[in-house]
């Protein structure tokens, strides 16, 4: 954590009414004003001649980086985390998901093609394999192919130094040596060896604490863990999920498996969502597959998850449809309803403001099945529309609409 204005002020003469109080030598009208500027990094610690040694040390400590950011490619950054828990602020740079490939593998080209073609979309975001962890004797040639497919390469010829060790102490030592040799960009590789997952999580947790809480330079670099090839894909999904939550910056998977990747990318999307800002979409009327004036109309909230669950179904239909998305502070259907962000009055007002009646001839609106209990209330608030209760789950919508 950086020092706050108040924490700095406590050490200044002004706080103790000591000699120098508000003497203005720092260029600020008061000690308090200087403290606030210092906290915002708009002033320099040398400007005040009365700063006690203790504050100087604290300040030096708090200005150190918690975790360095390392560029794995032009567009891919790892590291840069600054909290232990996502709820303290948010996690920053998403865990890099890499796949191990041997440049001497006779199926190299085929495997690379699979990897580079993999792409999924979830809640409006596209996910691809971020990087390849490259080994073997033909690295330069192979690296070029991978990079031209738009995927980062992690290998011993990468422009950063990879230091490897199997535990906290040895990794710290190895990193210290690299720093002494003048290395600036470092990746810490925590070797899995014959360790249990539990031991790996323990070491990762200590390393992250040393970085975030103590800003202990040798451990303030991103940490990479390569999962062993003797785990089956289900165990890999558990291990990768735990490492994603518990402090690996880069996870290298020993195999390419689509189900595994889709699952891990979804977890990563969850864990790296900023807890202060739920993902939301614009409140308006969305159109799917060029609806005509008689196309069905559905209603939902503006929580991104909710919207995309419904939109995905409507897109897949062979006919057009409308989706009315109400402003509901990015809350799911029932959450919005419980928090009074989805009231009959609000829905009626949105439908009116969106000018829906002018767009269509239909006068039927399908509401989420979870809001069946709101039907009468909505009907009363919007007498010109017929309210129809839809299905509980979005994936049942196509069946429901096909049956008319």
């Amino acid at each position: 954590m950086n020092l706050t204005g108040m924490q700095i002020f406590k050490y200044l003469p002004g706080a103790k009414k000591a000699e120098g109080t508000n003497c203005k030598q720092c260029g600020c009208p008061t000690c308090m004003a200087y403290a606030l500027k210092l906290a915002k990094k708009q002033a320099n610690i040398e400007q005040c001649p009365h700063i006690p040694q203790e504050l100087k040390e604290k300040f030096a400590q708090s200005s150190k980086i918690q975790q360095h950011e390392i560029k794995l490619s032009e567009t891919l950054i790892t590291g840069g985390e600054n909290v232990m828990y996502r709820h303290d602020k948010t996690f920053v740079n998403r865990t890099v998901i890499a796949i191990a490939l041997d440049s001497d593998d006779k199926d190299f080209d085929k495997k690379l093609e699979q990897i580079s073609h993999y792409e999924i979309e979830r809640i409006g975001e596209k996910f691809k394999v971020d990087a390849v962890y490259l080994t073997g004797s033909n690295i330069e040639n192979a690296a070029q192919k991978i990079e031209s497919a738009g995927i980062a390469v992690i290998s011993k010829i990468s422009p950063y130094k990879i230091v490897s060790a199997a535990d906290f102490e040895s990794l710290e030592k190895a990193s210290m040596q690299a720093l002494e040799q003048g290395e600036k960009d470092i990746i810490l590789e925590l070797e899995y060896k014959k360790n249990q997952l539990k031991n790996i999580v323990q070491e990762l947790t200590f390393i992250r604490r040393a970085a975030i809480i103590k800003r202990h330079e040798p451990l303030t670099y991103p940490v990479m863990v390569k999962l062993p090839s003797d785990m089956d894909i289900f165990q890999l999904s558990a291990a990768a999920s735990i490492l994603l939550c518990r402090y690996a910056n880069i996870i290298v998977l020993p195999v390419f498996d689509r189900a595994l990747l889709s699952t891990i990318f979804t977890l990563r999307q969850n864990i790296y969502t900023n807890p202060q800002k739920p993902l939301q979409v614009e409140a308006k009327v969305y159109e799917f597959n060029e609806p005509d004036k008689n196309a069905p109309i559905l209603l939902t909230t503006n929580f991104a998850l909710t919207y995309f669950a419904v939109a995905g179904e409507l897109e897949s239909l062979p006919f057009g449809s409308y989706l009315v998305v109400t402003p509901s502070d990015g809350m799911s259907v029932l959450t919005a309803w419980s928090a009074d962000k989805f009231t009959a009055e609000l829905v009626a007002r949105s439908v009116k403001n969106f000018g829906l009646a002018q767009k269509v001839d239909t006068r039927k609106i399908i509401i989420p099945g979870l809001l069946a209990h709101m039907k009468d209330e909505l009907q009363e608030a919007m007498p010109e529309w017929q309210i129809i209760t839809g299905t509980i789950e979005a994936c049942q919508i196509p069946e429901f609409l096909k049956q008319g």
Binding site: D230, I233, L267
Partner: protein, 302 residues
């Protein structure tokens, strides 16, 4: 740097309770850590429905490879899960006709289980108000009763307390509501050491992040000394996982991968996140997930 400089200091450990011979909770550090004296393995429960109907995902029926609920029960008892959970998925329409059958089921089937068990209601207040007191009274031995919430605890707490069961208290993803419900239930006669907190999380991809952070916050408050929040935490992640289309539908494009694989992984990943956050028990639906989780947690190779 010495690891002792970055030691995780706690004021209070998590309450420990016993279910027959199984130790629940009692931990004094974050999951997987061993820095304070007392740490336990998180527990894995396997859940089956009381009535196997067509709302139960097809992909799971295949995984179980069982035709009846009775076969599922036998298979669950032989699995490597630590606990068996039975979800009494009854409705307001069929509850009254089933009461005697349920008593019979408890007496003749549940009593034969070798593993400790959870008896879980339907998550429907009128049903649970009738059902849970019966489950508490006729359970063949001490068990976990699940769950009471704000609208039902007044009736359910006395029943669970009378027969010395462990009771799950569910509150909607809010640390203050969780604490309040604990306090209210203790006032009603619940032993603080016989409570499990269920923060009611969403599954992977469907609000998991909220539940994840609430578990972390509850854990932190407990270690900081809040004795009204230091109960073990249980997460019914199986049920939540299989609400998601990704976990049960084969209509996704090829890039999403084999759907049977994904069906297990979706649950495994959610369970792994819950355990990472601090859950002491995760309740799963898919036997493949149970096996994989146990192997990873116990460090066995495939």
């Amino acid at each position: 740097m010495n690891k002792s400089d970055i030691h995780f200091a706690i004021k209070e450990k998590i309450r420990e309770t016993k279910l027959v011979n199984l130790k629940i909770g009692g931990v004094s550090a974050r999951s997987f850590m061993e820095e304070n004296e007392n740490n336990a393995q998180p527990l894995i429960a396997i859940e089956i429905p009381y009535i196997l109907d067509n709302t139960y995902p097809e992909v799971l029926k295949e995984q179980w490879d069982c035709l009846t609920q009775e076969q599922m029960l036998t298979k669950a008892d032989k699995s490597n899960a630590d606990i068996i959970s039975i979800k009494f998925n009854l409705t307001e329409e069929n509850i009254d006709n089933n009461i005697e059958k349920i008593k019979d089921f408890l007496k003749n089937k549940v009593s034969k289980l070798t593993k400790p068990f959870i008896l879980r209601g339907a998550n429907n207040d009128p049903v649970d108000l009738k059902l849970l007191p019966i489950l508490a009274e006729f359970a063949p031995k001490e068990c976990i009763i699940s769950f009471a919430q704000e609208s039902t605890y007044e009736q359910i707490v006395p029943a669970a307390a009378k027969y010395n069961h462990i009771l799950v208290l569910r509150s909607p993803i809010d640390i203050n509501l969780a604490k309040e419900l604990n306090i209210l239930s203790i006032d009603k006669g619940m032993q603080p050491d016989r409570i499990l907190i269920d923060p009611d999380m969403g599954g992977l991809g469907y609000g998991l992040d909220y539940g994840y952070s609430i578990i972390e916050k509850i854990r932190q408050a407990a270690f900081d000394g809040d004795t009204m929040l230091n109960m073990p935490i249980i997460a019914f992640i199986g049920e939540e996982s299989y609400r998601a289309k990704e976990a049960k539908s084969d209509t996704f494009c090829e890039q999403w991968g084999d759907y049977k694989e994904r069906a297990a992984m979706w649950e495994i990943s959610g369970a792994s996140a819950m355990i990472s956050a601090g859950a002491d028990i995760v309740v799963l639906w898919n036997p493949t997930s149970v096996e994989a989780m146990q192997k990873v947690l116990k460090g066995e190779k495939s």
